[in-house]
Symmetry: C2
Subunit: 93 residues, 2 copies
Amino acid sequence: MQLPTIHESWRLERNATGLARQFSFESYSQTRRFLDALADLSEREGYYPNLNFNRTQVNVGIEADAKTLGSKEYGFAAQTDTLISDRLVDEGE
Amino acid sequence: MQLPTIHESWRLERNATGLARQFSFESYSQTRRFLDALADLSEREGYYPNLNFNRTQVNVGIEADAKTLGSKEYGFAAQTDTLISDRLVDEGE
């Protein structure tokens, strides 16, 4: 099985049972637009990542339900990547 | 100077330079309603707390700009408290 391709700035965490990516924005309105889009994605997919944010930074954390990361987790990460358009500045790592 | 009164479930953090409170909800839609209200409050006040959340829990972190917590930080905490209505379940600690 091939896993969905995700952006290179995702980090593996906790012995490869989690994925995390930090997104940086220029303003709170950009941050909020991203969070709103991510909330819509969560509701569509029925998947709710751990989110940590302040005015201009958002950290998205995706944890494996099972012992290893699979297509569900990589798929959500890949869909999160697609939310970033050129209007949203991503400093990544 | 008297500081605004805040809910007893706020915790002092980092040698009393931060305030944190955890809110719990029954559903993601309640969580999201609270987050939206908090985002509106942030934009009105120009103050952006650290927020950490998943599907049904939100942790609000307020850090002091100066060395000690003052009316600005307590005021934001007190306003956050007012966002919780009877439609939003708050388990506190």
